[in-house]
C-alpha cells in the first residue's frame, strides 16, 4: 500500500513542478523544475511497473535532454524575460479554458474504465528487450535511422555559416 501512496506523492510533486516550470520568468529556473518533474515521473515508473524504464527515463530525459536545454539556454545567455504585452492574455485565457476542457473530457471518458486482463507484477528489462528486439524490430531499426538523421540535422543547423 505504501507504494501507492509514494506514487501518488510523486504524481503531485510532478504536477506542481510542471506548473512552476511553465510560469518561471527565467528559463534556467523552469529548466531545473522541469528536471524535477522528470525525476518524479522516473520514480513513478520504477515503483509502478518497471525499474528499467524508470531508470531510462531519468537517464535520458533528466540526464540528456534537460542538459541539452540548459546548455542551449546558457549559450544564448538570455536575460529575464518580460512577460510581454497584454494582447497575450486573451490567448492565455482561451488556452487555459481549452486545457481544462481537455482534462475534464479525458477524465469523463476514462472514468470507471477498468481494462480487462489481469494486473501484471513488475515487468523485467529482459521482457521489454525481447519485445523490442523480436516483436517490434522494425520499429527499433526505424528509430535508429531517426536518431542518426536528427544528429546530422542538428549539426548542420547549428553550424556557423561558413562559406562552403
Amino acid at each position: 500500500m505504501i507504494v501507492e501512496w509514494v506514487i501518488r506523492a510523486l504524481g503531485i510533486i510532478a504536477v506542481l513542478s510542471a506548473l512552476v516550470a511553465i510560469t518561471r520568468r527565467n528559463p534556467i529556473y523552469s529548466a531545473v523544475f522541469l528536471g524535477l518533474n522528470f525525476l518524479c515521473l522516473g520514480g513513478i515508473f520504477t515503483f509502478y511497473v518497471s525499474p528499467f524504464v524508470g531508470a531510462v527515463q531519468i537517464i535520458v530525459y533528466a540526464g540528456a535532454i534537460l542538459v541539452l536545454f540548459v546548455l542551449a539556454i546558457m549559450i544564448l545567455n538570455l536575460r529575464d524575460e518580460d512577460l510581454g504585452p497584454s494582447r497575450r492574455t486573451v490567448v492565455k485565457f482561451f488556452a487555459v479554458i481549452a486545457a481544462i476542457g481537455v482534462v475534464w473530457l479525458i477524465i469523463t471518458i476514462t472514468a470507471g474504465f477498468v481494462p480487462p486482463g489481469r494486473e501484471a507484477g513488475t515487468i523485467s528489462a529482459a521482457q521489454v528487450g525481447r519485445a523490442l528486439l523480436e516483436a517490434h524490430v522494425v520499429a527499433f531499426e526505424v528509430i535508429s535511422v531517426l536518431l542518426i538523421t536528427a544528429v546530422v540535422g542538428a549539426v548542420v543547423l547549428a553550424k556557423k555559416r561558413m562559406e562552403v
Partner: protein
C-alpha cells in the same frame, strides 16, 4: 415519251458558260462573242425541234428525260428529270428566243468592256438556270433553277462591282429573292408531306396533279399561298418588289433579259404550272389576282413621275407583271401566258431601245437631260415608238390583245373591281409610256454640248428590229380573240383551268373601251409634254403632296430600311454587345472565375505565421473530437 436528247437544251448553255468562264479570258472578245449567242441559238433550235415533235403527240403529250436521281433519302426520292410539254416548251422558246436576240445585242453593247467574257459566262449560266426552272419536272428542281436564276441576277446586277451602289443593289436583289424563296421552300414542304399522308411523298408535277384534289382545302391553300410568296419575291410583286427598280444598276441587256423577259416571269410560270393547285383553292386565286392588280396600279403610279429612263421601264415591268398575275389569278392561265409572251417581246425591246439611247448618250440615263433625239437616232426612235404603242395597248399591237384578253377574262369571270382598277392602270401605262417617248425623242434637246448622240451599230439595231416585228405581229397571230393560237396550244396543260365564256358582244365592247383609254392616255401625254411643256410643272406645284409622295416612291424603301434592316441589325448588335455573349454567358463565366479567386485570397489571411496560433487550432480540434465522443457516447 422518253427522249435522252432533251437534255441537249440544257447542255448547250451550260457548255457556253463553262467555255466562257474558264477559257473566255484567253480566247478573247471575238471568240466569246460567237460562243455565247451560238450556245443559246443551238438550244433554241433543239427547242423548235422538240416543239415539232410535241405537236405530233396531241394535247397531253410530253417529252420526259430522267437524267439521274438527285436526292434520295428514305421514302423521299427526287429525280433530276426534265419535262418538255406544251407549257414548258412554250416558255423554252420564249426564253431562248428572246435570250438569243439579247445575246446578239450585248455583243455591241458590251463591246470593249474589261469583263466581257465574265458577262457572257454569267448570261449563259442564267439561261441554263432559267431552262432548269422551266423544264424541271418537280418543284425542288424548279427551286434549284429559282435560286440559280437569283444568283445570276445577283452577279449580273453587281457586274460592275467596283461601284458601291451596284454591289449594294445586287446584294439587295439576292436577299429579297431569298425572302421569297423562304416561302417557296415551305410551300414545297407542305405539298411534300401533304402528299406523303395521302399517297407517297412527292413533288413531281405529274403526281401532284393526282394528289392535290385528294388533299383537304387548307393544305392546298397554305401550299399555294406559300408558293405565291416565293412568286412575289421573284416576280417583284407588292411586298417584295423593292429590288427591281434598284436592279437597273446592271447593264441594260441584263435588265432586258432578266428583269423584263424571263426571270421575273418565273412567278407567273410557276402559278401557271401549278394551275391544278391554284384552281383547287379559289381563295388563293383571289389573293393572286388582288395582289396582281394592286401591284399593277401601285407601280403604274410610281412610273408617272420617275425620271431615270430605266426606272420608268422597271415600274412598268412591275405593273405589267401585276397584269399577268391578274390573268392567272382569275383563271385565264392562257391569257396570263399570252401577256407574258407579248410582254417579253415589247418590254425587252423597250429596254434594248433604252440601252441604245444610253449607249448613244454615252451613259446618260436621266430623261430630263434628253430630248429631240428623233432625228439623231432614227432607227432607235422608230423601234421605241412601236414598242411604246404595244406597251400602251393601242390596237393592232401585241400589248392591246394580251392586256385586253386579261381584262376581258377578269370582267367576264366576275372580278368587276379588278377590271376597273386594271383599266385605270392601263390609262396610266399609256400615259407614262408616251411621256417617256415625248421627253426622250421630241421637242428641244436638253443635253449639254459635250454629248453628241449617235445611232447604235447595226449589231444592236437588227435584234431590236426583229423584236419590233414580233411585238407587232405577236398580238393578233398568237391571241386573236376566240381562236387564239396560244389558248388552243395550252389547252392540254390547263384542263383544270376555270372555263370563262363571255358574250362576244361584251368582248367587243370591252376591247373598244380599252382602246379609248389608251388613246386618252396618249392624248394627255401629248398635251403635257409636246404642246405645253410647262404644264407638268404647274400640275406638280398644285398637287405638291401627291407629287412628292409619288416621286419618293411612297418612301417604301426608306420604310423597309428602317422597319426591317435597321431593327434586325440593331437586335443582332444589341444581342452581341449587351445581352447574351458579353453579359450573360461571358458574365457568368467571369464571375465564377472571380469568386474562386476572391475566396482564395481571403483564405490566405488565415496563415498568420504564429506557431502558437496553429497549436491552439490543433488543441481546439482535439477538444471538439473529444467532445463529440463524449456526446456520442453519452447518448
Amino acid at each position: 415519251m422518253e427522249d435522252a436528247m432533251l437534255r441537249l437544251i440544257l447542255l448547250f448553255p451550260l457548255a457556253g458558260f463553262l467555255f466562257n468562264a474558264f477559257l473566255g479570258k484567253r480566247a478573247g472578245e471575238r471568240v466569246v462573242s460567237w460562243v455565247g449567242p451560238a450556245s443559246i441559238f443551238f438550244s433554241f433550235a433543239t427547242g423548235v425541234y422538240f416543239m415539232s415533235q410535241l405537236a405530233g403527240l396531241g394535247e397531253h403529250g410530253y417529252i420526259r428525260d430522267v437524267i439521274f436521281t438527285w436526292i434520295a433519302s428514305g421514302e423521299v426520292s427526287i429525280p433530276f428529270s426534265i419535262v418538255f410539254d406544251h407549257l414548258s416548251g412554250w416558255m423554252v422558246l420564249v426564253v431562248t428566243g428572246v435570250g438569243f436576240l439579247i445575246h446578239v445585242y450585248s455583243i455591241g453593247y458590251m463591246h470593249g468592256d474589261k469583263g466581257y467574257y465574265r458577262y457572257f459566262a454569267y448570261l449563259n449560266l442564267f439561261v441554263f438556270m432559267m431552262l432548269v426552272l422551266v423544264l424541271g419536272s418537280n418543284l425542288l428542281l424548279m427551286f434549284l433553277g429559282w435560286e440559280g436564276v437569283g444568283l445570276c441576277s445577283y452577279l449580273l446586277i453587281g457586274f460592275w462591282f467596283t461601284e458601291e451602289e451596284r454591289a449594294r443593289a445586287g446584294m439587295k436583289a439576292f436577299i429579297v429573292n431569298r425572302i421569297g424563296d423562304l416561302g417557296f421552300i415551305l410551300g414545297i414542304a407542305t405539298l411534300l408531306w401533304g402528299s406523303a399522308v395521302v399517297s407517297h411523298p412527292t413533288v413531281e408535277f405529274s403526281q401532284l396533279q393526282a394528289v392535290v384534289p385528294r388533299l383537304p382545302e387548307w393544305v392546298v391553300l397554305a401550299a399555294t399561298l406559300l408558293l405565291f410568296v416565293g412568286a412575289t419575291g421573284k416576280s417583284a410583286q407588292i411586298p417584295l418588289y423593292v429590288w427591281l427598280p434598284d436592279a437597273m444598276a446592271g447593264p441594260t441587256p441584263v435588265s432586258a433579259l432578266i428583269h423584263a423577259a424571263t426571270m421575273v416571269t418565273a412567278g407567273v410560270y410557276m402559278v401557271a404550272r401549278m394551275n391544278f393547285a391554284y384552281s383547287a383553292a379559289p381563295l388563293a386565286m383571289d389573293v393572286v389576282a388582288g395582289v396582281g392588280v394592286a401591284t399593277a396600279f401601285f407601280a403604274a403610279t410610281m412610273g408617272l413621275v420617275a425620271t431615270d429612263i430605266k426606272k420608268v421601264l422597271a415600274y412598268s415591268t412591275v405593273s405589267q407583271l401585276g397584269y399577268m398575275f391578274v390573268g392567272v389569278g382569275v383563271g385565264a392561265y392562257a391569257g396570263g401566258m399570252f401577256h407574258l409572251t407579248t410582254h417579253a417581246f415589247f418590254k425587252a425591246l423597250l429596254f434594248l431601245g433604252a440601252g441604245s439611247v444610253i449607249h448613244g448618250m454615252s451613259g446618260e440615263q436621266d430623261i430630263r437631260k434628253m430630248g429631240g433625239l428623233k432625228d439623231k437616232m432614227p432607227w432607235t426612235y422608230r423601234v421605241f415608238l412601236i414598242e411604246g404603242l404595244a406597251l400602251a395597248g393601242i390596237p393592232p399591237f401585241a400589248g392591246f390583245f394580251s392586256k385586253d384578253e386579261i381584262l376581258f377574262k377578269a370582267f367576264a369571270s366576275g372580278h368587276k373591281l379588278i377590271w376597273a382598277v386594271g383599266i385605270a392602270a392601263a390609262f396610266m401605262t399609256a400615259f407614262y409610256t408616251f411621256r417617256l417617248i415625248f421627253l426622250v425623242f421630241y421637242n428641244t434637246p436638253r443635253y449639254d454640248e459635250s454629248v453628241h448622240p449617235h445611232e447604235s451599230p447595226p449589231v444592236m439595231i437588227i435584234p431590236m428590229a426583229i423584236l419590233a416585228v414580233l411585238s407587232f405581229i405577236g398580238g393578233f397571230v398568237l391571241g386573236f380573240p376566240h381562236h387564239s393560237l396560244i389558248e388552243a396550244f395550252m389547252e392540254g396543260v390547263f384542263r383544270h383551268g376555270v372555263e370563262i365564256h363571255g358574250a362576244s358582244g361584251l368582248e367587243m365592247g370591252l376591247m373598244f373601251l380599252s382602246t379609248i383609254v389608251a388613246v386618252a392616255g396618249w392624248a394627255v401625254a401629248y398635251r403635257m409634254y409636246v404642246v405645253d411643256t410647262t404644264l407638268p410643272e404647274k400640275i406638280a406645284q398644285r398637287f405638291k403632296a401627291a407629287y412628292a409622295l409619288l416621286f419618293n416612291r411612297y418612301w417604301v424603301d426608306e420604310i423597309y430600311d428602317t422597319l426591317f434592316v435597321k431593327t434586325y441589325l440593331g437586335i443582332s448588335d444589341g444581342i452581341m454587345r449587351y445581352i447574351v455573349d458579353d453579359v450573360i454567358i461571358e458574365g457568368f463565366l467571369n464571375t465564377a472565375a472571380r469568386t474562386s479567386l476572391g475566396t482564395g485570397r481571403q483564405l490566405r489571411k488565415l496563415q498568420t505565421g504564429d506557431v502558437q496560433a496553429y497549436g491552439f487550432a490543433m488543441l481546439a480540434g482535439v477538444l471538439l473530437v473529444l467532445a463529440y465522443i463524449v456526446w456520442r457516447w453519452a447518448t
